[in-house]
Subunit: 212 residues, 2 copies
């Protein structure tokens, strides 16, 4: 795919929202008369400003027809390509705790091309068991596994204490992206894509606003 200049990260996040919005329509669609959508209709469904939507889409091409709108199926397919969801992505999860389990069981992933190849933990009681048809392996075998299976994405659901160490192993074995759920600041080489999800922040900012 082409390298385009300075597309805001938040635009990419919104593409994912548009994608799901269209997906919902495509899956519900029976009537043929509902195959076009306008930016203001998407705006209404997502709560995002319609000019914002048009600008976001315009980063990637001219998908719409002036005076008409966007062809739902076409835009859906384009977004899937842009987001890389037309490919398969091999994923491993480090940490077989509750969050790790929740992610393994999430049905939406397979549909979007994310294949969870293995879960890794250091707890002897977990190792060897299965979660939703995925084996839990000893974390000692993670590096070999990543290399052998050419894993692209590693998900960290381990404790904050061990997150950096486990991340280092992932990087050493050639992983290309890490989704970090541990509430800690990871330091990684710049070529590794790193996204952080911090659930505590969401709770703690809620209570700030409740305290006002």
């Amino acid at each position: 795919m082409l390298k385009r200049k300075s597309i805001p990260h938040i635009t990419i996040n919104r593409l994912s929202i548009y994608y799901r919005c269209l997906e919902k329509i495509v899956e519900a669609e029976n009537k043929k008369d509902y195959y076009i959508i306008s930016s203001s209709k998407i705006a209404e469904m997502t709560g995002i400003n319609s000019a914002q939507i048009r600008k976001d889409l315009a980063y990637f091409g001219q998908f719409g027809k002036r005076g008409t709108g966007y062809y739902i199926k076409n835009l859906h397919i384009e977004l899937r390509k842009i987001l890389g969801l037309d490919k398969r992505w091999s994923v491993i999860i480090a940490g077989a705790g509750n969050l790790g389990q929740a992610l393994v069981n999430y049905k939406g992933f397979k549909k979007r091309g994310f294949i969870i190849k293995g879960i890794f933990d250091n707890n002897p009681l977990s190792i060897g068991k299965k979660l939703d048809h995925v084996y839990i392996y000893d974390i000692e075998e993670m590096e070999k596994f990543i290399r052998k299976k050419n894993i692209m994405i590693g998900v960290l659901t381990v404790s904050a204490n061990s997150a950096q160490e486990v991340a280092n192993k992932m990087v050493k074995s050639g992983i290309r992206a890490i989704l970090n759920f541990a509430p800690t600041h990871l330091i990684l080489p710049p070529e590794i894509k790193l996204h952080n999800v911090d659930l505590s922040i969401e709770f703690e900012s809620l209570t700030y606003y409740l305290s006002l």
Copy 2:
């Protein structure tokens, strides 16, 4: 607490990061010679620009000493107050799926004052059971429960389809904040604090960058 004008939401999120950073030091602290911290030290630990940190803190007061830095314990306590973490918050979770379970089991919540009072689900197989000492109730009883126990925060880990409906019930019963994990755009009265956490977005933006 005083109402202050236009503090960016993202500043609140960062306060939560500073808070955890200080917490880590306070808990590890044995040596008395390590009781002051500079904004550049926090910057190093969190990856956030030091001017940003000083500006964020300055929204709420002058906590530092010029030429010296910030007293760790003092700043820790101030942040706790600002974030409302010195109070207890009654929480319920709607949806006893894997994510709901993961949240119930997360140890960090109790420490920060979040008390999970109940879990609600519509699955007869789950109702009546316990998750980590918290009962799972029939979702039909949720509204009564919220009113009776004066619940402040509702967490939505139900499906996207039912999220709006369950949220409406929460609002009707007097809940004041909702943390929504369902990948859908909720429409709520403006006085309800709403935060969304969308895990799919994080995965899908990763694959965008991997596809470049």
